[in-house]
């Protein structure tokens, strides 16, 4: 797997008015906090990273592969090592929690059918989610539970790159940060790009190299690494 997970080169985000081109790379073991106000292009940036939205100009490469050169099957394969968590849960509401969690594992052949139940139970126990939820449909769950199941489904595929969008920038005291993101970041080679509160890096006990990317009406400003500054 390429060391550089995600790379934007001379990219112009699909926004009006047309923003300036930017270069940006996300490498293994990096944490990026995305900051910006509403309509500044945070979601557009994350969707562009997976090729869900086309850029006005420039290239996006995922694991060293230029997205615009990939066919549908190759694109699907490239996206399998990423997980995107959107501001809404993104779950299939008429289905049970079990079916929602089983979907990526089954579809991506990450787990054999006879081991599926065991794998899902392990996952629920690992992140301390009650097993009684498994048989409930998503419609029956509260907003908080939906968000937690959404995180669980994203982490079930063991992605190397986790992209987290949020309607409100995530804070260090948010339950999903302490319950899912921090434990997952303990694993080697995992990178995170997350819409986060400006004070997040001061509050999180992160071992990884972290940087901040600010967005202003689609203009990308990459700030100096806080980690490097501290080290200097």
């Amino acid at each position: 797997m390429a060391d550089c997970y995600l790379a934007f080169e001379q990219a112009i985000l699909a926004m009006a008015p047309e923003p300036m081109p930017f270069n940006w790379q996300v490498k293994a073991d990096q944490v990026w906090f995305i900051q910006g106000a509403q309509y500044d292009g945070k979601t557009t940036l994350l969707k562009s990273a997976l090729g869900l939205i086309s850029l006005i100009d420039g290239d996006v490469a995922l694991y060293g592969q230029l997205l615009h050169q990939l066919g549908p099957t190759e694109l699907q394969r490239a996206r399998q090592h990423c997980s995107l968590i959107m501001s809404r849960s993104g779950l299939i509401e008429p289905w049970t929690v079990f079916d929602n969690l089983a979907l990526p594992l089954h579809y991506l052949n990450l787990c054999k059918s006879n081991q599926l139940s065991q794998r899902i139970v392990e996952l629920m126990q690992q992140y301390q989610i009650p097993l009684s939820l498994l048989d409930q449909t998503v419609n029956e769950l509260s907003h908080e539970w939906r968000q937690q199941i959404s995180f669980l489904r994203a982490l079930a595929t063991k992605p190397l790159l986790l992209l987290v969008d949020a309607a409100k920038p995530l804070r260090a005291d948010d339950s999903c940060v302490s319950q899912f993101i921090l434990p997952y970041l303990q694993q080697p080679e995992v990178s995170l790009v997350m819409v986060a509160d400006p004070a997040m890096h001061q509050q999180l006990p992160l071992q990884k190299h972290y940087q901040t990317l600010s967005l202003q009406r689609g203009h990308v400003i990459i700030e100096e690494s806080a980690h490097d500054t501290d080290a200097a």
């Binding site: 997980s83 968590i85 993104g90 299939i92 059918s113």
Partner: protein, 272 residues
């Protein structure tokens, strides 16, 4: 001066008309391209039905068949009985005791026209609206983006099982409705003209040839493709709940008109 003003006004109006027509044509071609892409992309996922990883697609297929064909079973039978009564009503009023004429009515009017039409109305009202709402909810809740990020193609995951499920369900509903119509007609015919139930039933059944059955199933498949594509399209373009509220009735009207045109065309072609 008067002529010039009017002429230039007309010219301006005409250019606006062409601009408007151009815009409408462009929008229409965009819509058709979207629908065609959706259908081709969905049918490219047919191998998923037999692959182990296609479990979710098969699950949705069964759910769609159950929801469309089995849940409104009693309603389908009731409407079938109503069609049978309407088919025989003129015979009862005018006291025409000709089984052959009744069989001909079934052949020309009931099998490939009335029954597909009534099945269509039930399916659009129940499943069509539900499909638009469900797909729009997936759009609003960002489920489509999550599916794509997991490497799952939404057209194959959402559209394909619904097309196949509704095609199968329509065929099943057509069968039940035909049976109910024949049953009610035969009972009433026997009661009024004292002709054996089996004689009426068999006479009407005898007009059901292999060709008419084939046409019936092709018609149902065509209706399913059109109906699901239109309802999914209106679901996909709904970005907010306000859009959804606007698009549900639009989807109903468009799919009803398109399927009616299809039914009438096939009826004309099959009857020469």
């Amino acid at each position: 001066m008067w002529f010039k003003d009017t002429f230039f006004d007309r010219l301006h109006d005409t250019s606006q008309l062409f601009e408007h027509l151009g815009g409408s044509l462009r929008a229409l071609s965009h819509k058709i391209a979207f629908l065609l892409y959706m259908q081709v992309d969905a049918f490219a996922g047919l191998p998923l039905l037999v692959q182990p990883k296609g479990y979710a697609v098969r699950l949705q297929l069964w759910q769609q068949i159950f929801f469309t064909a089995f849940q409104p079973f009693r309603l389908t039978l009731f409407i079938g009985c109503g069609i049978g009564f309407l088919a025989i009503f003129p015979f009862l009023v005018l006291e025409i005791a000709q089984i052959e004429l009744l069989a001909l009515t079934y052949q020309l009017m009931i099998y490939n026209t009335m029954i597909p039409l009534m099945c269509l109305l039930i399916v659009i009202g129940r499943s069509g609206m539900a499909i638009t709402t469900e797909v729009a909810n997936y759009r609003i809740e960002h489920t489509l983006e999550c599916l794509l990020s997991m490497g799952i193609e939404p057209n194959q995951f959402l559209v394909l099982p619904r097309i196949l499920g509704i095609a199968i369900a329509l065929s099943l509903m057509g069968f039940w409705m035909t049976f109910a119509a024949l049953f009610s007609s035969s009972i009433l015919y026997q009661w009024t003209f004292s002709v054996a139930f089996s004689a009426v039933f068999e006479s009407c059944m005898s007009t059901l040839s292999f060709q008419s059955l084939l046409i019936h199933h092709l018609q149902m498949f065509g209706i399913a493709v059109l109906l699901v594509s239109i309802h999914c399209y209106y679901g996909f373009i709904s970005l907010t709940t306000t859009d959804l509220a606007r698009n549900v009735p639009r989807a109903f009207v468009r799919s009803l008109i398109s399927c009616l045109i299809l039914i009438i065309t096939i009826m004309e072609l099959s009857n020469g």
